[in-house]
């Protein structure tokens, strides 16, 4: 008998039968499970060894998606920004890609590619490569985010009848707000005022899933809009886009709505009202009679109370 077990002995005689036998096999099963799961996921060196395989599969303009998503940083380190560029990592959506290569581990697939057609599968070690075709890829004619520079665009703020031009600065002071502060303010931007946040430039915000979204920052001033005008844009059938604010800062939904108006050659084709809790929200505005022409496209961002309205949008014509 176990020393000191007198309290234990008071149990009813038949009680243990039902519940006491099965911990024994469980002990060893858990130990085996530990070693299995600890070694199941590929190591960093395994990822690095995959670089040539991926490079052989990927063609220009194709998207690389890692599944599960938590392994994406490993892929970025192993494959580098040539194969996983920031532009793709922080894409607005997947609609514009004709083809994607999914690098999957642990039997996982990327949910965003679920409707795509598999054209090729390849197992390499613990990795499964799937080449997938987008069943309905959009043909993007012009990506506005790629053209935020003085060669293609101008920016100004309209306050009443006063128009204040935002001069281009290719070497502005970068700044970052950290966890609870503003998103990164890039060095290349149209500067619209003394306050750092008053600019038009390309940055990345966090969406409602804390995913990155590359977009055009356009903070509205008091009493009027911030306006960005892109010159000589090939216009498609629609202006497709998204708007949002950094989710962490605005997820309580307390901010004043923001209006984004899109004009082609001075004529409004639509207005989008954005509320904080909508997160990264899409829009499609028909270009109407402007489709198929080259025109100036103008984005106006305004809010009744512009305080902390750190609006950022993506847009293309398609």
């Amino acid at each position: 008998m176990i020393p000191g077990a007198e309290l234990w002995q008071a149990r009813p005689r038949c009680l243990p039968r039902a519940i006491s036998g099965w911990p024994c096999p469980f002990c060893l099963a858990e130990l085996a499970g530990h070693f299995y799961f600890a070694g199941r996921a590929p190591r960093l060196s395994d990822w690095q060894a995959q670089k040539t395989t991926l490079a052989g599969l990927k063609r220009h303009g194709e998207l690389v998606v890692v599944a599960p998503h938590w392994a994406d940083p490993l892929a970025r380190l192993a494959f580098g920004r040539g194969l996983l560029p920031m532009r793709d990592e922080a894409r607005p959506d997947d609609t514009a890609y004709r083809r994607a290569i999914e690098v999957g581990i642990l039997g996982q697939h990327a949910p965003e590619l679920s409707g795509w057609r598999t054209v090729e599968e390849k197992h390499v070690g613990r990795f499964l490569y799937r080449v997938l075709d987008n069943p309905a890829p959009a043909k993007v004619l012009y990506d506005f985010v790629d053209h935020v520079d003085p060669g293609h665009a101008d920016a100004y703020q309209q306050q009443g009848t006063t128009r204040r031009t935002c001069p281009w600065n290719a070497h502005a002071r970068r700044s970052d707000g950290g966890l609870a502060g503003h998103v990164a303010f890039p060095s290349r931007r149209f500067e619209c005022g003394r306050r750092d946040s008053m600019f038009v430039g390309v940055t990345i915000i966090d969406d409602q899933d804390y995913r990155p979204r590359r977009c055009i920052w356009a903070h509205p001033p008091a009493g009027g809009p911030t306006v960005v005008v892109f010159r000589n844009v090939p216009v498609g059938r629609t202006v497709h886009g998204y708007g949002g604010l950094s989710w962490l800062l605005t997820r309580d939904g307390a901010g004043t709505p923001i209006e984004l108006t899109v004009k082609i050659d001075g004529q409004s084709i639509g207005r989008v009202v954005h509320r904080d809790q909508q997160g990264w929200k899409g829009f499609d505005l028909p270009a109407g009679a402007h489709a198929g022409h080259t025109a100036d496209v103008q984005f106006e961002v305004r809010s009744d109370n512009p305080d902390q309205r750190d609006f950022c949008f993506y847009a293309d014509t398609r």
């Binding site: 243990p16 911990p23 469980f26 940083p73 920031m86 642990l106 002071r173 970052d176 950290g178 990164a184």
Partner: protein, 570 residues
């Protein structure tokens, strides 16, 4: 029995408890070096240094030290938490580092106090298990507790989470002994220990609910009859807790020596209205109520070794059936439970364990209780779960012996061999899982959810507190340029300062909280913090890390280096 044998038989269990505790401290010390300093540790280092300066003053200028202006000056640091542990960190630092040079590192000298108090939980679990179940049961309970990955992680730190679990356990143990033995020694000890528990962390506010519920449940009708007869049958230990406890609490926390009511009210208000931090659970980041009610249960399942939980379940069910199964009558007979008399001692003991678990988890029955601290917030339940697990172990052992005897005859299964084999097989997985978890303790998950990769896929929290910088100190030392600037992200500046003071990182590396001022950047992964990583991407112009701290194939911390400008040399 000779006097010597009697002494040995009395001393053996305290000696085993002491050895278990000392062994655990040794294990913690031998694994402390690559465990970086957690965010909160940085704040407690700072507070402990302030308190330490006051202790110095107290020995040289006692009158001045006791003046309110002086007390407030030194004790206002981190006054949202009581002072016991920070005082111990301070004294450990003062004597073991500064005076006696036992430790070459400041940080380890402060952590040592936390390790010792945490190890008390291991020792006390053994003692209680030994008394209630037997020596082997006590050993199994103690090792199961020590070999929980989260317990092992928190036991290293100069924080309050394992210390409060230890103090809760020790106080409850003293309370139980006071009920068993009567007299005044145990009740007075209970009162003093409760004061120290109050002075450790605010979990202490919950213990009286457990003890009063225990009184009501175990005394039942008798309590009611006593009250109707005008007698107030309060156990002397409860009385001591209500009187000695607050006095000890008051004496141990100089911050409340002045403006006592106002400061106590502020202390309570701080914790009752604690700000909500972010915590990922099943792929969703919670940052405001309603909090998910499944959080503590799933996180317990996902982080406590399965065999510990299984044995806990067996022990708990057995205890429940033992306590109440006799009342099942015919139904009980059908499932093999004969009517039986209940041993009031065992019943009282089991109820106390069960209530300690229930009360520890009780705050998470509300949608409004924050979940940001992860498992550490109900860690006070774990020693009691291990004690029930030891019951389950004992039951299993008993069953195996009976099976062996029935099948192979009375001499086949040798008692010791069965004990050793079953004990080793029960402890093997917890030991393997826990030792493997180091130094990524908060990233470790059990096979039940597929280990760390499974947890990452499920969307369970990967890490918090920014402590994993310590695990990457070697990389930083080798790769950060001379006098280079390092963005610390979630590592507190005070924690970095301690890493540097301890010589664990190069002293020329300049820490900063500004990305734009840095040439190298750390990123500790939590979903809501990803926006910080994106800031690094934009600022550095690259989304590709140069190095990564990976646990079982899951990235935990990654490091970015600012690319050299085109044409830049070196």
């Amino acid at each position: 029995m000779s006097g010597r044998r009697r002494f040995l038989s009395k001393a053996i269990d305290p000696l085993i408890a002491l050895l278990l505790g000392a062994g655990y401290v040794w294990l913690l010390l031998s694994t402390v070096k690559n465990l970086g300093y957690a965010r909160d540790e940085g704040f407690y280092f700072q507070a402990a240094k302030s308190y330490g300066a006051w202790f110095d003053l107290l020995t040289t200028h006692p009158r001045q030290a006791l003046e309110q202006i002086t007390v407030d000056r030194y004790w206002s640091a981190n006054h949202e938490h009581p002072a016991l542990m920070k005082s111990l960190f301070a004294l450990s630092h003062k004597y073991l580092y500064r005076h006696w040079h036992w430790f070459p590192e400041e940080g380890t000298s402060m952590r040592f106090a936390g390790m010792v108090v945490s190890s008390l939980a291991v020792s006390t679990t053994y003692l209680w298990g030994q008394k209630a179940i037997g020596r082997l049961g006590g050993l199994v309970a103690a090792v199961l507790l020590a070999m929980m990955p989260r317990v092992f992680f928190h036991s290293h730190l100069d924080c309050f989470d394992m210390p409060v679990a230890a103090m809760w356990l020790v106080t409850t143990y003293a309370y139980w002994r006071s009920l068993e033995h009567g007299g005044w020694a145990w009740p007075i000890a209970t009162g003093i220990l409760y004061g120290l528990l109050l002075d450790t962390k605010h979990n202490s506010w919950l213990l009286p609910f457990a003890l009063i519920a225990h009184l009501v449940i175990t005394r039942g009708g008798k309590l009611w009859r006593d009250l109707r007869a005008g007698r107030i049958p309060v156990p002397s230990a409860l009385f001591a807790m209500a009187t000695i406890g607050p006095a000890v609490f008051y004496m141990g926390w100089p911050w409340i020596w002045h403006d006592t009511g106002k400061r106590l009210a502020a202390y309570v208000a701080f914790h009752m209205g604690h700000v909500y931090y972010n915590m990922e659970f099943l792929g969703h980041t919670y940052w405001k109520p309603p909090m998910p009610l499944g959080y503590p249960w799933l996180m317990t399942l996902a982080t406590v070794p399965g065999i510990t939980l299984l044995l806990f379940g067996v022990g708990l069910v057995a205890s429940l059936l033992y306590a109440y199964g006799g009342k099942l009558g015919e139904l009980g007979r059908r499932i093999g439970i004969e009517p039986h008399a209940r041993d009031p001692r065992r019943y009282s003991n089991d109820v106390l364990w069960a209530l300690s678990i229930l009360i520890s988890y009780a705050p998470w029955l509300s949608h409004h209780t924050p979940i940001f601290g992860g498992t550490k917030h109900w860690i006070t339940a774990y020693p009691f779960m291990c004690l029930f697990a030891a019951r389950g172990f004992s039951l299993t052992l008993d069953r195996l012996r009976a099976l062996g005897r029935a099948r192979f005859g009375p001499g086949f299964v040798r008692t010791r061999a069965t004990e050793v084999v079953l004990g080793a097989s029960v402890l093997a997985a917890p030991i393997a899982i826990t030792l493997h978890s180091h130094p990524w303790g908060l990233s470790a998950y059990t096979p039940l959810v597929g280990g760390a990769p499974g947890a990452a896929t499920l969307g369970l929290n990967r890490t918090f507190w920014g402590y994993t910088t310590g695990a990457e100190a070697g990389y930083l030392d080798q790769h950060v340029p001379r006098n280079g600037s390092l963005f610390l992200h979630d590592t507190a500046m005070q924690s970095w300062d301690m890493l540097r003071a301890d010589g664990r990182v190069r002293s020329d590396i300049r820490p900063t909280l500004n990305i734009e001022a840095s040439g190298t950047a750390l990123y500790h992964h939590e979903p809501h913090m990803e926006r910080v990583e994106y800031q690094v991407w934009v600022d550095y112009g690259t989304d590709a890390p140069v190095h990564m701290g990976v646990y079982d194939g899951v990235p935990v911390i990654w490091i970015f280096a600012r690319p050299l400008p085109a044409g830049g040399g070196g």
